[in-house]
């Protein structure tokens, strides 16, 4: 290879490899401006989930920049033309111990730091609020390709003529831990509300308890997150969060309207 072609290759490769950490980090810094980032959370546990994401983000970014940076430097530095031999070494025991032990420690810390948030969302259900696993606010049924909420009658029964059913839109009160049971009538679906940081598969044959506490009134996308057939892409729903008083009024209106029909 001629000297010029060699230099050209060397510079091109260095720049390409350098672009990985530079553009890579820059993309993540700019992402929020382009709305290619988490939509702001509106649930009680959103903060802890996003916080854990950022802890890992920092760890990953530092590792990413250091390792990619070393790669760029080594490739640039050691691709010069020449005849002298490379450094002859088969490794270094101390170095191996260090770069095994430190990441091991960090990773164990990461693993343990996740457990509380996971337990909060998926294992420890609210017990002293108005809604519990034994007395949930509602049942949510997924089926190809829609969502349906069922609210029990005043006695808490999910059977009978006075069960309010709402298709497509799920209405819940604000600032209250809401517990519901998630079911599927046919295939797998997944209950995903991005702004709640909540996702749970709906499995036919299982009644899975789910909880969240919405912190802001509004209407949010409910998205099916598990392939459920040809219409999966349009299995949309909405979660409507109302202040407690409005919610109570809405539910009693629904019940009254239902009673009027029979």
């Amino acid at each position: 290879m001629s000297a010029f072609k060699h230099l050209l290759t060397r510079l091109t490769v260095t720049l390409l490899l350098l672009a990985v950490p530079v553009l890579g980090v820059w993309t993540w810094m700019e992402a929020e401006r382009w709305k290619l980032w988490f939509p702001p959370y509106v649930s009680s546990y959103g903060e802890s989930i996003d916080g854990l994401f950022f802890v890992i983000l920092w760890m990953v970014t530092v590792t990413f920049v250091i390792t990619e940076g070393l790669l760029v430097w080594f490739v640039f530095r050691y691709s010069r033309r020449g005849d002298e031999k490379a450094l002859y070494t088969h490794g270094n025991h101390t170095l191996e111990m260090v770069w095994t032990a430190i990441p091991a420690l960090l990773l164990i810390i990461v693993a343990f730091s996740q457990m509380k948030a996971w337990a909060t969302v998926k294992m420890n259900f609210p017990e002293d609020g108005p809604y519990t696993v034994a007395h949930p606010l509602m049942e949510v049924y997924a089926s190809q390709f829609d969502w349906r909420a069922r609210y029990p009658d005043e006695q808490g029964n999910f059977e009978g003529a006075d069960v309010v059913e709402t298709p497509y839109e799920i209405t819940v009160p604000e600032d209250v831990p809401v517990v519901f049971r998630l079911n599927s009538r046919d295939v797998l679906h997944s209950f995903f509300v991005p702004k709640f940081r909540l996702k749970q598969d709906a499995v036919p044959g299982m009644r899975i308890p789910v909880w969240f506490e919405a912190t802001e009134a509004g209407s949010y996308d409910l998205i099916c997150a598990e392939l459920c057939g040809w219409g999966h892409y349009k299995m949309a729903g909405r979660v409507r969060v109302l202040p407690q008083a409005d919610f109570d009024r809405w539910l009693s209106e629904q019940r009254a309207a239902l009673k009027a029909t029979h």
């Binding site: 088969h90 996740q114 057939g229």
Partner: protein
Amino acid sequence: MSSHAHVAEARPLGIDPAGTIHVTHEHHELGFIRRYIFSTDHKVIGIQFLFTGLVMLLLGGLMAMAIRWQLAFPWTEMPVLGRILFPATGGVVTPEGYTMLFTMHGTLMIFFVIIPLLTGTFGNYLIPLMIGAPDMAFPRLNMMGYWFWWPGIFCILTSFFAYGGGPAAGWTSYPPLSTIEAAAPGSHWGQNWWLLSLTFVGVSSMMGAVNYVTTIVKMRAPGMTFFRMPLSIWGLMVAALLQLFALPVLTAASFMQLFDRVFHAGFFTPTGLVINNTNPESLGQAAGGHPLLWQHLFWFYSHPAVYILVVPAMGFVSDILAVHARKPIFGYKPMVYSIAGIAGLGFIVWGHHMFMSGMNPAVGLVFMTATIMIALPSAVKVFNWLGTLWGSRIHLTAAMLFAIAFVSMFIIGGLSGIWMASTPVDIYIHDTYIVVAHFHYVVFAGSMMAIFGALYHWFPKMFGRAMNETLGKIHFIGTFVFTNGVFYMMHQLGLAGLMRRTADPYAYETYAHLQPVNQIISYCAFALLAWQVFFVLNFFGSMIWGRRVGRNPWNACSLEWEAPSPPGHGNFDKQLAVYHGPYEYSVPGAARDFVPQTQRQLG
């Protein structure tokens, strides 16, 4: 038993004292068919896997283009490909057609491209050559391994064009969508063909895996101890062990699903389903099963399979780095232990695919810890690759560029995995595009780069001619740029919450603004495919017009470079004995900057 006789015949392969090599059938000239088609020669079988795998890569790539078209310009007429795939709608993707596209793309790329290219092609070609054996332990079984792949190919292609439509339940094929016909109208025969195809491919891989492990354990040249084997061989052996232990589970699960579909066995079907306003039990479907059972069985195979997709690639990259950086591998034994560590941990992490599945969340914590710890051996590998490059004398060949790219890309794919392993963060990002970015960084930007690198590196051995370096570099630059153009921004789409497997996400308020990003990604994807023209020209052109090379064009230490290029039947034309490890580059005081494994003295 006839197979016994065959083993006895093939066994003494090594080198006999007279220095001649005994190979099955070496005494008479073989006809064209026995030599090139129904060949028992591991090199021919490797190259058969290579050509077939590259054709499947093109098919899988075209599926990807169709997917990218739909995501960039939903429900519009797709040029060129549209008329072939969707003639009924004039080239517009249909919703059920979209589910079939990504199902086939995933299935083809995993079972018909990456696994066969890594283990079928390079496993077959390299194992006997690198350990100094004249052929595989079971040459006929090896041939059968290749030819059992063909019914698999037949079934998978048939499934796509099956009456009523192809399989539409994703490559993961989760029941009840995959088992109850009414849930996915049109996937009736398609899904059955898909399951049969997986079985054939599994049997084919199994034959290969038995062969690889036996060959490596029993047929190493004199002096080739386990810790003198090149890391490619370690990677291939560990991948073969993963297949041996995990594949039976997938095969059993596929049959269970097939029984559910054909005989209404009900392994995975719970009671009380209502599909299309009908309870399938009223149509004779047995129930009482559980959908999660399939997920456990499937991922018990398919998570180790993910490591089958990358562990051999790590081996190839290690070898390419050492040869073209003229430097011994930094930390050879830690490299071996980390491959073993990845594989060992790989068996106890399958549950991380099921964090949101309804599985007991306490079990999720165990799977999370195991999964996060798998980052440790991966990190050790990256550090040792960097250590290998430190103080080296890098030759910027096309093979080397792809190997360096693997390291760069694997860092990205490895690091993004930590978020997915962390259960609370995974609640949000599970099944989003950040997952798609993650596994494409490992499997395409990682393993595929390693495959390209390995082809540039071992092509001279395979065909006796070198590939063109300038074309190779042009191929590298475009592939590297467009690969990142395709997959990097998928991280951002995932953070914005975009779900995978959605044919038209823009109807959601959350996703409405994401279409321009998807269009950029799609343009990069089209360019990435088009750019492979440089590879195709170089690959086929070099077979005919490439520069002729001798035995050892890269001045490498390992045994395959002792054989003629290309090696004849029986591989080696001289007696081999191995005296040291495969990475003795730049030994101080040595006459040249490499000391072949067959040379007694280092200095």
